[in-house]
């Protein structure tokens, strides 16, 4: 019995770890897509964040500078995306694709040139990685039966980025639904002409949204390379940016459901690692690949309206051209 409880707790713990970059990236997508800018470049921005965070942390030994560098890289690419699709009315999907391919090439190229380690950064020492903190009282509570170990497993060692991600969720819920900026942001994704008529700059709002996207994707990448991992390795995002996009759609571009979708996908992944090679009753061993493909299949089914309807922000994907 106690074993089962421990197993579930460890599952939840690893789900939180997997969910953190997903949540950050999905909320990054939430801001820009709510503002009417489609971003399939989440993957590339995350990868850039991961690389520049690790490279800087490795060069300076300071993880906070690393985080700052990752965020800067994310914002720089977000502004590039904005320059292409807000200023020049370019195709948003093409721009996102270009960023993904560019970074997939640029990160290992720079890593190769700077560190000569075959496209990686050196392994970071503990001091160059973002710290994990213990919640107050985890040590003291350890002696309390049941609650103590539970508390210790879940809150004994929490990366600061996990806490940041939790804060991002709470702040986003407030900002998007309770502030003037949030209201305008949502409006510009639905009806930019109306926002423009009200005398608010569509361009400015969309750029602001993209900066938030850049910050959050940079953080998501930094988590992978200098908090969860200890250095940058080639293609370390491994499709997480697209998975975050799937979670965003699965969450129907809303704060709560998007969070739940991220947690669900992460939980599926954690369960999948546990279940590898384990025969289940009735169905037997399910091939790993099927479980890994589940979020993508679910998203396809959802988009097809078989599991409810996912309606994107109405103006998303369309450049706004002011009438003259």
């Amino acid at each position: 019995m106690e074993d089962a409880v421990t197993t579930i707790l460890l599952l939840l713990d690893s789900a939180v770890r997997v969910a953190t970059p997903l949540v950050l990236a999905a909320f990054a997508g939430l801001y820009c897509e709510r503002a009417g800018v489609v971003d399939i470049g989440l993957e590339g921005k995350m990868l850039a964040g991961a690389f520049f965070a690790a490279a800087t942390a490795s060069a300076t030994g300071d993880p906070w500078l690393g985080l700052a560098a990752g965020v800067t890289a994310g914002v720089a690419l977000a502004l590039l995306h904005g320059f292409a699709c807000i200023t020049h009315n370019g195709n948003q999907v093409v721009s996102g694709m270009a960023i993904n391919i560019l970074v997939a090439g640029l990160a290992p190229t720079l890593a190769f040139a700077w560190f000569s380690l075959g496209g990686q950064t050196p392994l970071l020492p503990g001091s160059a990685r973002l710290p994990a903190v213990a919640f107050p009282g985890t040590a003291a509570a350890a002696d309390i039966p049941v609650i103590g170990p539970v508390y210790a497993i879940l809150f004994g060692k929490v990366s600061v980025v996990v806490l940041l991600a939790a804060a991002v969720v709470a702040v986003s819920a407030f900002v998007l639904y309770r502030t003037r900026f949030g209201l305008r942001l949502r409006a510009v994704g639905e009806n930019p002409a109306a926002v423009d008529t009200a005398g608010i700059s569509v361009t400015r709002l969309r750029y602001q949204a993209l900066v938030v996207t850049g910050v959050l994707t940079g953080m998501a990448g930094a988590y992978l390379s200098i908090a969860h991992g200890a250095g940058f390795v080639r293609d370390m995002t491994a499709g997480k940016g697209y998975l975050a996009l799937a979670a965003l759609i699965f969450g129907k571009w809303r704060v709560g459901p998007t969070l739940l979708a991220c947690l669900l996908f992460a939980f599926i992944d954690a369960v999948q690692i546990r279940l590898q090679g384990v025969a289940l009753p009735v169905v037997g061993v399910i091939p790993v690949q099927f479980i890994q493909a589940l979020p993508y299949a679910l998203t396809v089914l959802l988009l097809a309206g078989f599991v409810g309807r996912a309606v994107p922000p109405r103006a998303s994907g369309q450049p706004y051209i002011k009438e003259r």
Binding site: N91, S95, V103, L303, A304
Partner: protein, 370 residues
């Protein structure tokens, strides 16, 4: 999604639109690439010289370049056909993968057939598998209102999962560790071009370039005829331009969307013939290696016209072959530099395609007045 271009006022002559602007965008992309190379600490001019030399300088290199170009022609055409119907097919990667599966299954199933019969059957199977993998997202968009960009991305992941499962658990050669099928019977391998030309007494250096290159050229012609000289091609373009007008003209947008996606997938699927039947001679993981994404760049550079696509595919073939070789000559550079250049070309030729339009238009206006 809006894919139509916003034509700036003060229209340009066609040659400026179709040749000058893409050329300017290409130059801009190469200039930024040069800056990247400079930042790394190598001489961009020397790098580019080596790149071109290693891609076009000697017969074997040309064979490799054309081999890469073959795949890019297929995926470039695939993206273009979908684009003419107003669809952005990001799923070339998955469709090429599935096309390879189709070709491979046929090749495994027909030992003892003459190569040309096997090639016909495998090409048909590649088209069928690729078309099926693209038709589903097309159907989902036409009938269920889902978004083609997102579904095709998801289908790339599903294709990767499916292929990994098939190769790890089903098609793996018995008693072997690495996930690949057994090798095809040598009789059904698609002849390489050096072999074909050898039959006619012409000797060329051996390379992976194979007969599917000719099929790629033929597909350029067929796609041109289809798009601009058939009723279906016309319908497809009308739907891409203006869906409502298409409905008034009695054209069914849903049907055009599904047709465009099926054709697009079939074209991408032919990559499988080039790679699996022509070169690898067995099914294995990750053969596509980004060919679907390069197809986007090729279509954008080539302005979605088969003639332009041929030229753009050649350019990207040079990049793939020459760029891969550059890492041997310059210790600070590696293969991935190619992706940097590809990404920049997509950025400048696609997302920033109107970057230089106002300046060029102003230039033409001034000359017109002066």
């Amino acid at each position: 999604m809006t894919s139509e271009s916003h034509v700036a006022p003060g229209g340009l002559p066609p040659w400026a639109d179709y040749a000058l602007l893409p050329l300017l965008n290409l130059v801009a992309a190469l200039a930024v690439s040069a800056l990247v190379i400079l930042a790394i600490g190598e001489n961009p001019l020397a790098v580019m010289t080596v790149m071109v030399g290693e891609a076009l300088g000697y017969p074997e290199a040309i064979g490799y370049t054309l081999y890469y170009a073959t795949g890019y022609i297929f995926t470039g055409l695939a993206v273009a056909v979908a684009f003419h119907a107003g669809l952005f097919n990001i799923g070339g990667e998955g469709q090429a993968y599935l096309g390879g599966l189709g070709a491979g299954l046929v090749a495994l199933a027909v030992p003892g057939w003459p190569w040309w019969a096997a090639a016909l059957a495998a090409t048909g199977a590649a088209a069928l598998f690729g078309a099926a993998w693209a038709w589903v997202p097309g159907w989902l968009q036409a009938r269920r209102g889902s978004h083609i960009v997102i579904t095709t991305i998801m289908f790339n992941f599903l294709a990767a999962a499916l292929m990994t499962w098939l190769l790890v658990d089903v098609l793996i050669k018995p008693g072997q560790q690495s996930p690949e099928s057994r090798e095809f019977d040598p009789g059904v391998w698609l002849p390489t071009m050096d072999r074909v030309l050898g039959w006619f007494g012409v000797t060329v250096a051996p390379s992976p370039l194979n007969l599917s290159f000719l099929w790629a050229l033929a597909c350029c012609g067929l796609v041109y005829l289809f798009l601009w000289h058939t009723r279906w091609g016309y319908g497809l373009r009308v739907v891409g331009r203006n869906e409502r007008a298409a409905v008034y003209a009695g054209i069914s947008p849903a049907r055009a969307v599904m047709l465009a996606m099926a054709l697009s997938g079939a074209l991408a699927g032919f990559c499988g013939v080039n790679d699996i039947l022509g070169v690898q001679h067995r099914l294995l993981l990750n053969v596509t290696n980004g060919v679907g994404f390069v197809g986007i760049a090729v279509a954008l550079m080539g302005r979605n016209h088969p003639a332009g696509i041929m030229l753009a595919a050649l350019l990207f073939g040079v990049l793939a072959q020459g760029g891969g070789q550059v890492s041997f000559d310059f210790p600070r550079l590696n293969r991935e530099l190619v992706m940097v250049i590809q990404g920049l070309v997509i950025l400048f030729a696609g997302a920033l395609e109107h970057l230089f339009r106002p300046q060029v238009a102003a230039l033409f206006r001034r000359r017109g007045e002066g």
